[in-house]
């Protein structure tokens, strides 16, 4: 989804830096099977769109934030300016992040929902942790 503003803090895809900002990995909604945000919503404001993504229906969202604590992936956000919840909706099937990425680090393709960042993050944090505990 696009907020229509240039404000990285409102991005629903967020890049994590590793090893002193020498490597990076993007993280966003996994479109999980449970759909914790969707089942938590007390007014049915989160639905599955044509792209198969969980999507916030703005007219229905009251901004109660229950979805932000129900989502165990930390990918459900609240916009204080609109007073609505917002999340990745795969841009209705044409994700702007994939189109914008110049190195094809982000691509949009059918696949199994997966933890694409876990191994990378584990490997890239090993040295930091070793240094801290040394």
């Amino acid at each position: 989804m696009q907020t229509g503003t240039y404000q990285p803090s409102k991005s629903v895809i967020r890049v994590s830096p590793f090893e002193g900002y020498t490597s990076y990995a993007p993280y966003t909604c996994t479109q999980c099977a449970e759909g914790w945000c969707m089942t938590a919503c007390p007014v049915g404001a989160i639905r599955i769109n044509a792209a198969g993504a969980k999507d916030v229906v703005d007219d229905k969202c009251v901004g109660c934030k229950l979805c932000t604590i129900a989502c165990p992936y930390g990918t459900m956000f609240y916009d204080p300016d609109t007073t609505k919840a917002f999340k990745c909706n795969l841009c209705e099937g044409h994700p702007a992040c994939a189109e914008a990425c110049p190195t094809e680090a982000i691509t949009f393709a059918e696949g199994e929902t997966a933890d694409w960042i876990g191994d990378f993050a584990a490997e890239r944090t090993t040295r930091v942790l070793a240094r801290e505990t040394a």
Binding site: P42, I46, G63, I69, A70, P72
Partner: protein, 447 residues
């Protein structure tokens, strides 16, 4: 498989059970809903009070939508007694409903203290839609509102009262605010924030009576000056609606908090009777002990698990995680799990000047509870709130990260990612299958 399902209570638990039955059976069974009120979401009533939504927005079902779900709706009808052996419910109007299995989801009601005057004119609760309407009528620009109770319910309507242009004083008998949701350090930050935003707080105040005085309400206390109000809102707790089950044969806990004792399928002591939501004493996800978790997410999960089991699935429930979030004057406050565990290893971080607080509670290498507080617009401080839930819910092994998190309690994200928490959570679903969009399942034949 049971052919006649009876749902008693049209709140979150009841409606989630109905939707799940229909997702599972496509309309094959008979469902009867007995509900004293037309179904609405209590969770969103504060937004109706704050005038950010219309009354029509609060309803979670209409007679037409229930008909489309092939539900026989008996709305405005109250359950009076249950004969569990005969599988028969008697209503307050004397009529009876027979069933093959039933769900008790009669929820809670607001409780007032026995203080003289607490039931008098101009003294309201804010729990039902009808009570919300009365408060809306009584709170106008310039109205002096006194709210009794500084707990979660009180805080959910705080913004709405201010948005209506009223002034607000909150009095609380405990020595601090939010005693059942956050710790003392967090309460101090929230109290300071509220006072800076024009809310008057009076804690440690034992109210002795409420009386009429020159057209206003006068609240007297054991110590200190009385307080005058145009309208008083009692946010002094809730009681579960279980009295009507006396003599039913359904086992209710004698422990504090009460609740219908349920097994891991959320069945009561009588196997054809399920319980869900505020009335159910179900398993705590983290400890396994039976507890009443009178919160919206538990009512949802309970309702869905019961619905699946009523539809013939054999579905065990892992248990519910206590969690709360409330935003007051743009300050986010949330807590998860065993946030007051006295045996936990506790790591905290405070940025008092920025009203930020973070608390992590470990049992061994597992995060068992967490607390978070910070201004809503400071995204870095509050936006990992879901990751905290994920770490607590998944029981991720954070042994390698514990020393790091002790030094940097705000630095959750790398620990979350590197411990493959997302990967561990992905196969987990409450119903053992993907959830469906909340609209009407296509499989239900619309009449």
């Amino acid at each position: 498989m049971a052919a006649r399902h009876l749902i008693i209570g049209g709140g979150t638990a009841g409606l989630n059970a109905i939707r799940t039955i229909r997702e599972e059976d496509g309309g094959a069974s008979e469902i009867t809903l007995v509900s004293a009120e037309r179904p609405y979401s209590r969770m969103v009533l504060p937004y109706y009070l704050g005038a950010s939504i219309a009354e029509s927005h609060v309803y979670t079902a209409t007679p037409a939508s229930l008909a489309a779900w092939k539900v026989k709706a008996m709305l405005g009808r109250r359950a009076k007694s249950l004969d569990a052996a005969a599988r028969k419910l008697t209503l307050a109007d004397g009529s009876a409903v027979e069933y093959d299995d039933c769900l008790i989801a009669t929820g809670s009601r607001a409780a007032r203290p026995p203080t003289p005057g607490a039931e008098g004119p101009g003294v309201h609760c804010f729990w039902t839609l009808e009570e919300a309407r009365a408060v809306i009528a009584g709170v106008q620009p310039g109205t002096k509102v006194v709210m009794v109770g500084a707990g979660f319910i009180s805080f959910t309507i705080l913004n709405a009262i201010l948005a209506r242009g009223a002034s607000l004083t909150i009095v609380e008998v405990a020595p601090r605010i939010l005693p059942r949701m956050v710790d003392e350090a967090c309460a101090r930050i929230v109290a300071g924030w509220l006072e800076r935003h024009g809310v008057t707080l009076r804690v440690g105040a034992t109210m002795t009576k409420i009386e009429e005085w020159k057209g206003k309400r006068k609240l007297s206390f054991k110590k200190g000056e009385p307080v005058l109000a145009d309208i008083v809102i009692m946010a002094t707790g809730i009681r579960t609606n279980l009295e009507w089950l006396e003599g039913s044969g359904i086992e209710v806990s004698a422990e504090p908090g009460g609740g219908i004792l349920v097994d891991d399928h959320l069945r009561s002591s009588v196997k054809s009777v399920y319980a869900a939501g505020d009335v159910a004493r179900g398993p705590n996800l983290l400890t396994g002990t039976l507890e009443v978790h009178a919160i919206e997410p538990t009512a949802q999960e309970h309702g869905r698990v019961v619905g699946a089991n009523m539809a013939g699935r054999d579905l065990a429930y892992r248990g519910s995680l206590i969690m709360n979030i409330v935003e007051v004057c743009h300050l986010d406050v949330a807590s998860f799990g065993q946030w007051d565990d006295p045996k936990a290893d506790v790591f905290t971080a405070t940025h008092a000047d920025r009203s930020q607080y973070r608390k992590l509670l470990f049992r061994g290498g597992k995060l068992n509870g967490a607390m978070i507080c910070g201004p809503a617009e400071e995204i870095w401080a509050t936006n990992d709130v879901g990751m905290l839930k994920g770490l607590v819910y998944s029981g991720a092994d954070l042994s390698r990260w514990k020393a790091h998190l002790k030094k940097h309690p705000f630095d959750i994200k790398p620990a979350y990612l590197a411990t493959h928490t997302a990967g561990r959570l992905l196969p987990q679903t409450v119903l053992g299958r993907a959830s469906q969009s909340p609209q009407l399942p296509h499989s239900v034949v619309v009449q």
